[in-house]
């Protein structure tokens, strides 16, 4: 795959005016958090999920430690159901930025052939994401893990701390979080305990896109509209180009311009119809969008409070 395909789809890649003060403030805060965690913890790791938030996170990490390398590995939990373009993009980034990339797939899930179709989205997420993440964090003995979660994403995240404390079995207790004042973070933990750190806590979806634009951050092409095959299933546009895809009776595979607002496992990630092929167009669409980005995610709809429940169990 050609590199330029991943680069930000902007008109002008040369001129880069200074960041506006709003994005600069968010960037400064994120860099501060990266440095603080890297200095305070013995074995940090960065969760890398290949989407736009991860791409921003990666960019900020490179900035935070420049002129040095990123002083911790990146961890990708591969469920086996990611879009192939995501994997290609991941490997390209690892090469381009000299990253220390760790990829983990739950061996039990792989052996039992856990699939979102046959086992349902809840079980799939539970085994291939939540359990896999716990395995990888335990194996690496990581005491801090960076994630790209934002507080504006979902109601249960609004109270998440920037340093979010986890018990040795990765549990989150929302009723008993450490108070967090100013930008003084408490990184004291006992052996086995860990902290999830969220440098993008105060970013909104619009901030993410504006920053990608301002900084020319590479993204998987899935974020841009292209002619792709899909079906409409349960009100969701499901990508239909994988060989494991099976149309249900009565379902018709269509081909049209679609793109994705978030990236995950393709059977669980809804597309939207769109002709936005540049960042400007994506942002313009976003600013008039009346639906939140998580709408495309099957996981949130299962039940009220579903995200909180998953997080308590150790989901990121």
């Amino acid at each position: 795959m050609h590199i330029s395909e991943f680069d930000a789809h902007t008109q002008d890649k040369q001129a880069k005016p200074p960041l506006d003060p709003h994005l600069k403030a968010l960037e400064n805060e994120a860099i501060h958090i990266f440095r603080e965690v890297a200095a305070e913890f013995e074995r940090p790791v960065m969760l890398y999920s290949i989407g736009k938030d991860s791409s921003v996170l990666l960019h900020l990490a490179r900035k935070a430690f420049y002129p040095g390398r990123i002083p911790f590995p990146l961890l990708h939990i591969d469920t086996g159901w990611k879009f192939p373009e995501m994997i290609a993009f991941r490997d390209e980034m690892a090469k381009r930025f000299d990253l220390d990339l760790v990829v983990h797939t739950n061996p039990r899930g792989a052996k039992e052939n856990i699939s979102p179709f046959t086992h349902g989205s809840a079980l799939h997420t539970d085994i291939m994401k939540t359990e896999a993440l716990r395995q990888a964090l335990d194996a690496g003995q990581y005491d801090a893990a960076f994630g790209g979660a934002r507080r504006d994403e979902e109601a249960s995240r609004a109270k998440e701390r920037i340093y979010s404390f986890r018990t040795p079995d990765h549990k989150w207790d929302p009723r008993n979080q450490r108070p967090e004042l100013w930008n003084v973070y408490n990184g004291m933990i006992r052996r086995g305990e860990s902290v999830r750190a969220f440098p993008l806590s105060n970013w909104t979806e619009v901030d993410i896109w504006r920053y990608i634009q301002a900084e020319n951050i590479p993204l998987p092409p899935l974020y841009y509209a292209a002619k792709r095959k899909f079906v409409e299933r349960d009100g969701m546009l499901m990508w239909a180009e994988d060989k494991r895809f099976e149309a249900l009776p009565g379902e018709q595979v269509q081909e049209d311009y679609i793109r994705f607002r978030t990236l995950g496992c393709w059977p669980l990630t809804g597309a939207i119809r769109s002709h936005a092929t540049t960042l400007d167009e994506v942002i313009a669409e976003l600013e008039i969008a009346t639906v939140s980005e998580r709408q495309g995610r099957a996981i949130d709809k299962d039940q009220a409070g579903s995200m909180e429940k998953k997080k308590r169990e150790g989901y990121f």
Binding site: Y66, E180, S292
Partner: protein, 491 residues
């Protein structure tokens, strides 16, 4: 005087010079008693600035089947993030909300108003530039309102909005509005707050929140809530000089050594002379390195890497500062504390103190306690219970580096961590350094003891010593080194 219904210190929107507008995100905190309409107000802010998306609103309607009188979703449900809270129907913690207008973006710390949650308010207020105090126009200014204003002031907030809500329920009565704003301004003045804007609001109907309420309140000529927020100032670390708490030392290769941190005050440029604290060594700034380019200046808030012109010993937790206006370095400071946990703060107990990137041991001796009801400080030398606000003496084993919180909200702030639980148990604000320690200016004779550490710890914990801790200098070392030092004195 009621000619201008606002009597606001903040300039009305029309007079603002757009060129000077600060576009950094404004952080604000909202406080009110239960049922004053805080959820409705925040919901209204999010709704009218289009921060709530259709599917989120649909989820609300699906969950509750409830709508308010105007056919809008039940905002409280949108805000109460956690299942446990939803079940109890109260907010119990600080939540952060985001919305933006075309002029600026906003981060709202949404904190509950019940008395026992002083800690949450202190947390939310610690990063806020402005406080919105909410009152119910019918109930008027309550004791609660004074408490909120007091805590916000202590945490360093200088800009206030008094949102007089449910103005629709008092028939948009101007006299009532004037009465309440006058009453609040008196409280504000007694707290030393000069920037107060009072606004008559109906959160429910969306009047004077994002859209104006002219149709119902032609008598009100002041700004809407959002207009005030758009014009408020973000306090950059207002300090006497350049401060860089060092977070980490970057050594990617033999030829490069840079000190990474976020500028906590003032500005710096290549060629500036700086001092490294606590060691006191001096150097000049050679370069300011960032990912984007080598910069010719950095200001408060910037995350930078600083390169000095000579080999000096700099470690995480040190502070690089301007030579002319240095922070205070010492073993004893006075501070104000908010106790955040059920265990309170125990006198004489050793805690971890973290300020910026510096973490060190400290003992705390309370001296007075704030009575939030009257705003008076009363003598108190016992433990500080949860939610108490106290004045304390801090005593350190090793030099501490601070500015007064009033001068710098970053280098004057700290948290206390309980070494037994690792939990954050207090937030603190430095008042200033205590008299000279170590008897440097003191003619009286001094005694140096070399003791086993366990015995020293027992003596340190004794009341007699803790009372005069500021006069005592302590270093920990190994037996060999101790013998060597004593030998030096003899020789």
């Amino acid at each position: 005087m009621t000619a201008s219904a606002t009597a606001a210190a903040i300039a009305p929107a029309a007079e603002a010079a757009p060129a000077l507008r600060d576009t950094r995100p404004l952080r604000l905190i909202t406080c009110g008693s239960v049922d004053d309409g805080k959820s409705t107000l925040i919901g209204r802010l999010l709704w009218d600035t289009k921060a709530v998306k259709e599917d989120q609103a649909a989820a609300l309607n699906r969950d509750s089947g409830k709508q308010n009188d105007l056919g809008l979703p039940d905002f409280a449900l949108l805000l109460d993030g956690l299942q446990a809270e939803r079940e109890q129907g109260i907010t119990i913690d600080v939540a952060y909300r985001y919305f933006a207008t075309d002029k600026r973006s906003f981060i709202v710390a949404d904190t509950p108003g019940h008395e026992q949650y002083t800690r949450n308010m202190a947390t939310g207020a610690s990063t806020a530039d402005l406080a919105v105090l909410l009152v119910d126009a019918r109930a008027g200014i309550l004791e609660q309102t004074r408490r909120h204003a007091t805590i916000a002031t202590l945490m360093g907030i200088k800009q206030f909005v008094l949102a007089i809500n449910k103005i629709d329920l008092v028939n948009y009565d101007k006299a009532r509005f004037d009465e309440l704003s006058r009453e609040f301004k008196e409280i504000a003045l007694s707290l030393g707050v000069k920037q107060v804007t009072a606004i008559p609001v109906s959160a429910l109907k969306g009047e004077n929140v994002v859209y104006d309420g002219k149709a119902s309140m032609p008598w009100y000529e002041g700004p809407t809530l959002v207009e005030v927020l758009e014009l408020a100032t973000v306090r950059s670390a207002q300090t006497v000089g350049f401060r860089l708490p060092v977070q980490r030392v970057s050594r990617p290769g033999e030829s490069f050594r840079g000190y990474q941190g976020t500028v906590a005050g003032g500005a710096v440029k290549p060629g500036d002379s700086v001092v490294i604290l606590p060691s006191g060594m001096v150097a000049n700034v050679k370069q300011i390195v960032t990912f984007d380019l080598v910069r010719n200046a950095a200001v408060a808030g910037d995350a930078i890497t600083l390169v000095l012109d000579r080999q000096v010993d700099v470690a995480r937790g040190d502070m690089i500062a301007t030579i002319d206006a240095q922070p205070q370095v010492g073993l004893a400071f006075d501070a104000q504390l908010v106790a955040l946990q059920p265990g309170g703060i125990e006198p004489g107990k050793r805690y971890w103190l973290k300020s910026g990137s510096r973490r060190q041991r400290v003992t705390v001796q309370p001296s007075s306690l704030l009575d939030l009801k009257s705003g008076k400080w009363n003598r108190h030398d016992g433990a500080l219970p949860m939610n108490a606000i106290g004045k304390v003496h801090l005593s350190f084993d090793e030099a501490a580096i601070f500015d007064a919180y009033e001068l710098n909200r970053t280098t004057g702030a700290f948290i206390l961590i309980d070494p037994d639980t690792n939990n954050t148990v207090a937030g603190g604000m430095i008042a200033g350094k205590r008299g000279d320690v170590g008897g440097l200016n003191n003619e009286a004779e001094r005694v140096i003891l070399s003791l086993p550490a366990d015995l020293a710890d027992k003596i340190l914990a004794s009341g007699l010593l803790s009372e005069r801790r500021d006069e005592v200098d302590i270093r920990r070392t190994n037996p060999g080194r101790a013998a060597e030092l004593l030998g030096e004195l003899d020789g």
